[in-house]
């Protein structure tokens, strides 16, 4: 492929990424941009060119050793979620902009520790970036068919220009805000997109190689069986390989927490804790999918080329070998994506550390105190931008001078070992409040020294002499126990595992030793308490900070203005006063304001610088450690008391709410009872009134015709019947309500029961000339109280008769078994039941509002009693909805399984 064509492709792709970042920066509130998917995808910045090309190389040369780099993060993930949730909380409260700042704050806003961590990470990550540049340069050469020529002058080296473009990208979108904890939406969005691109093109390649060039995994496997060393590639064949595996997993376990680019996307760019939930499953899944094809591509490379091609670049040489330049180009773009995201995010993270933890705290504080806000802001941004270019240029120089002859993986591993040196300070610092500055500082120094001796020094020696050296073979002064690859004769480990093992042991031990034997200052202990105890992380807590001395609001305000501008400074302070309910006219500043101001500046110039600047305008008294602990204990008790008070008041609220409800229910029940009694009284008095009036007429009137006399005597008789019916119903209903009604369950045949019911009501139907039609009737035998069921059927039938027109209407009764239930339906023509009435129709004394004409004969308890009876049979009774020109009632009772 022509170099110029490829350059056009590269520049266009980078242009596209610039455009994406530009769009994201100008649409900050876009829904997609702020979704948890973007967050989860951006975590995949973990997969760099090392993953993309190097894993295939590892799989082809050392077999399963390519896996730990993914297994580490996958194993770490459950723990990762817990640790990261805590870290994110702390980082937000203290406005932490990088892992260097994080550790600096934890160990007492220490300037020295922040600087040390920044240096360690530069040492660890710059070679890692150089590795990416190397990958770009070499893949560019492979694709254009040129020889890889590392001695070419930078002016003719594409990798150099790509590096510069990436620096411009990082500088533009990484340093727009002076506060480094502000979100970099443009960079994160383009990273997320790159994660998709690299995964997609890698999968395309995998499918192409596995299923197009070969006939699937089993085909590859069979062909590989002829290769003599295949066995070594698919097994861990001895103990040392097992150890190497274990330590490689541990290393990448730490890396997922500590790599600056991971800390950047996970912590600094996090919007809210919920985003972690998406990442929990998505990120491990992403890594898994990424690796499905890795061994197959590696095998395909071995089968195709034997030893004639660099295994690191099988991903390109396989499609090129088939003449498929287009696919090779896609793979190249995927690899470029991996490089770009890794380099940009790493550079952003490193430049923040260089400026906030190295340059500003050690070189610019005195200057800042004197200058105007605009100058300070311009200075801070310039420092960051220059740092960006410095990092990338250093990485390029490193690549030119060191990494030329080294495989992608070995430099990556070196980075991991170096970065792991922060593990004791980070993990123990989060969960052990005795861990102090001296422990962290000495631990890192010791760990780095050992790494330097066991890994970096031999690496340099080998790079420059090109061969093994007496120093490595025999040890210094010929002491074999001190051989850099085999301390105390542990040379059975691979060099990286060996370095990792020894440096970690020493680092952890030194950390614990110094933490236990030295007494840190009170500030360290203060932050230790703030970090370790979860209850202090529930919300931003300015009360947890212990500070005593003399300070004035005006001085602090003036200082804040120098960095934030007077407007922002005033606004932030006003917010602080309101939040803490402090009179804004207060002159003397207290511990809370000092803590607040330190945090406010920390995002822009780092925690240590911020503390130094603030302390230049306040007069702090020294406090003893025991005093700090006393105050912290007190504030802890206060918090606990406050919390228990809050809990009590919440409980009280709940109880009072319950009481109110209970009271309402009592009132309701009482009212129901009263209503019931009222209605009963009314229902009893109505027939009594008729009897009373009719009797009065019969007694008083002398000249009364025989027919009138008969009429009033009939009234008396009918109303008396009505009274006794009513009384029976009321007694029935009361017994059912109180659950005192005894049921007599016996085996009966429903057909006979229905006949009995119809017989008892025949007279009534005959009077209205209505025919009761019996529909399908199977012989169903089941257990029920026959008298009560007759009562129900009669009630339903007499209701039906009541509402059916004279002579014209019809009534039908139907009986079926449905799902081991007996269902009996009574249907009649006539007026429909109003939809509004349906839910209440079985309530006692419910009368439809639509019921006109004269009041139907009935107690108002009939259906309510039916409902009770059916419920005693474990059944249901209901009126059908949407019946046109008529009414339809059904009850169902379960037919019990006969005992076999």
């Amino acid at each position: 492929m022509n170099s110029w064509h490829l350059i056009v492709v590269v520049v266009s792709y980078l242009g596209l990424l610039f455009a994406l970042a530009y769009w994201a920066e100008h649409n900050k509130n876009n829904k997609w941009l702020n979704s948890a998917w973007i967050y989860a995808l951006s975590l995949a910045v973990y997969s760099s060119a090392w993953t993309y090309y190097g894993s295939i190389g590892t799989a082809a040369t050392t077999g399963l050793q390519f896996l730990p780099i993914y297994l580490g993060p996958v194993i770490a993930f459950p723990i990762w979620v817990l640790v990261m949730r805590k870290t994110i909380r702390i980082a937000k409260i203290h406005k932490v902009s990088s892992i260097a700042d994080f550790l600096s704050v934890r160990y007492g806003q220490s300037r020295r520790l922040g600087a040390l961590v920044a240096l360690v990470l530069i040492l660890g990550v710059v070679p890692y970036i150089s590795l990416q540049l190397k990958a770009v340069s070499e893949t560019f050469a492979i694709l254009t068919g040129n020889n890889i020529n590392h001695s070419v002058s930078p002016l003719y080296d594409t990798a150099f220009y790509i590096a510069l473009l990436l620096a411009v990208f990082a500088a533009i979108y990484g340093t727009q805000k002076i506060d480094a904890t502000e979100k970099h939406k443009g960079i994160v969005f383009s990273t997320a997109i790159e994660s998709l691109v690299k995964l997609f093109f890698f999968l395309v390649l995998g499918v192409y190689v596995t299923f197009y060039l070969f006939q699937g995994p089993s085909d590859l496997f069979h062909r590989m069986e002829n290769i003599p060393y295949f066995e070594n590639l698919i097994t861990l064949n001895n103990e040392s390989a097992g150890f190497n595996w274990f330590f490689a997993i541990a290393m990448s376990f730490f890396a997922i927490f500590l790599l600056p680019r991971q800390f950047q996307v996970t912590v600094v760019e996090n919007h809210n804790e919920n985003e972690i939930k998406r990442a929990i499953w998505f990120f491990p899944l992403y890594l898994l999918i990424f690796n499905i094809f890795t061994p197959f591509i590696a095998w395909a490379g071995i089968i195709t080329f034997g030893g004639a091609s660099d295994p690191d670049y099988f991903a390109l040489s396989l499609p090129l070998h088939q003449g498929n330049t287009f696919l090779a180009l896609l793979v190249f773009v995927g690899g470029l994506s991996a490089v770009v995201s890794m380099v940009v995010i790493s550079t952003l993270a490193l430049s923040t550390m260089v400026s906030n933890n190295l340059v500003i705290p050690y070189g610019f504080l005195n200057k800042f105190i004197k200058e105007a806000p605009e100058t300070n802001i311009a200075y801070i941004k310039s420092i960051r931008r220059i740092s960006v270019f410095l990092v990338i240029v250093t990485a390029y120089i490193f690549y030119k001078n060191f990494s030329v002859n080294v495989s992608l993986v070995s430099i990556g591993i070196l980075s991991f070992v170096v970065v792991s040196q922060l593990a004791p300070s980070y993990f123990l610092g989060l969960y052990w409040n005795r861990g102090n500055f001296m422990g962290a500082f000495m631990g890192i120094i010791a760990g780095i020294s050992l790494t330097a001796y066991t890994l970096i020094a031999p690496f340099i020696v080998e790079t420059f002499t090109g061969a093994s050296h007496q120093f490595i073979e025999l040890g210094p002064w010929g002491i074999s126990a001190l051989r850099p690859y085999s301390l105390l004769n542990t040379g059975f480990l691979s060099p990286s595992a060996h370095a990792f093992f020894w440096s970690m042991i020493v680092n952890f031990s030194v950390y614990v030793f110094f933490s236990l034997t030295t007494k840190g200052n009170y500030r360290e202990r203060n932050f230790a308490e703030l970090f370790v105890h979860n209850y202090r992380l529930e919300k931003p807590d300015e009360n947890g900070y212990v500070w005593k001395g003399e300070a004035y609001v005006t001085d602090i305000k003036a200082l804040l203005s120098r960095f934030l501008g007077p407007e922002t400074a005033n606004r932030e302070l006003a917010g602080f006063f309101v939040r803490n309910r402090i009179d804004p006219k207060t002159e003397a500043a207290d511990a809370r304001l000092v803590s607040f101001s330190e945090t406010l500046l920390a995002g822009s110039i780092g925690a240590a610088s911020s503390k130094i600047l603030i302390s230049s305008v306040v007069k702090e008294e020294q406090i003893t450690l025991s005093e700090v602990l006393g105050i912290l204990e007190e504030s802890k008790e206060n918090m606990a008391r406050k919390r228990s008070l809050e809990e009590k008041s919440r409980e009280l609220l709940v109880i009072s709410k319950k009481l109110k409800e209970a009271n309402l229910q009592l009132i309701f029940k009482d009212k129901q009872k009263n209503d019931f009694l009222d209605t009963v009284a009314h229902e009893l008095k109505t027939p009594l009134s008729g009897i009373r009036a009719a009797s009065e007429i019969l007694i008083e009137e002398d000249d009364i015709s025989e027919s009138d006399k008969m009429q009033f005597l009939t009234v008396i008789m009918n109303e008396t019947d009505r009274l006794s019916r009513l009384i029976n119903n009321i007694l029935d209903f009361e017994k059912f309500s109180a659950g005192r009604q005894k049921m007599h369950f016996e085996r009966n045949e429903i057909k006979l029961t229905v006949d009995k019911s119809i017989a008892s009501i025949k007279q009534l139907a005959g009077n209205k000339k209505i025919w009761i039609h019996k529909k399908s009737f199977d012989t169903i035998v089941l257990e029920y109280d026959e008298d009560r069921i007759i009562q129900v059927i009669t009630n339903l039938l007499s209701n039906a008769i009541k509402f059916t027109e004279y002579e014209k209407g019809y009534i039908s009764i139907d009986c079926k078994t449905i799902d081991r239930n007996l269902e009996l339906t009574v249907e009649n023509s006539g007026k429909s039941i109003q939809q509004d009435d349906l839910p209440f129709i079985f309530d006692k004394f419910y009368q439809s509002h639509e019921q006109t004409t004269k009041k139907p004969v009935g107690s108002g308890l009939g259906l309510a009693i039916c409902k009770h009876i059916i419920e005693e049979h474990n059944g249901n009774i209901w009126a059908h909805a949407n019946v046109k020109n008529g009414a339809k009632f059904t009850f169902s009772i379960p037919i019990k399984q006969p005992i076999v």
Partner: protein, 122 residues
């Protein structure tokens, strides 16, 4: 001219006995079974007195009472409530709405006749 009496009640036995007694005493009797019918009869007949039940379907006695009392055309119409509701609060409510008498069921026909005569100054 015979005084006109409107009976508003949904109980056939009560309507029947009241109607019989009043006719015997030479009143002209009209019957309504609920509030709706009562209003219809009122408009067409303009009775001198109304015997009004409270618990009726659709429009109850209280509503019917308010309707009558809010129409100036019926300001001379006498209202006697005849109801089974016998709580002091029920009676108060009825009288407050403008009823002239309140008779509790079961009632004496004699008492009804006396009250009508008194109210109509017969």
């Amino acid at each position: 001219m015979k005084p006109k009496i409107l009976i508003v009640d949904d109980e056939p036995s009560i309507v029947m006995t009241l109607e019989f007694s009043l006719k015997k005493k030479n009143f002209e009797v009209y019957i309504a079974r609920d509030g709706n019918e009562a209003m219809f009869v009122m408009e067409n007949v303009h009775p001198d007195a109304v015997l009004l039940d409270i618990m009726m379907p659709n429009i109850d006695g209280y509503e019917t009472l308010s309707f009558i009392k809010n129409n100036p055309a019926y300001k001379n119409t006498k209202i006697i409530i005849i109801s089974a509701k016998d709580k002091p609060s029920d009676i108060e409510k009825g009288l407050a709405l403008g009823a002239d008498r309140y008779i509790i069921k079961p009632f004496a026909l004699k008492k009804v006749i006396t009250d009508i005569n008194e109210l109509l100054n017969l």
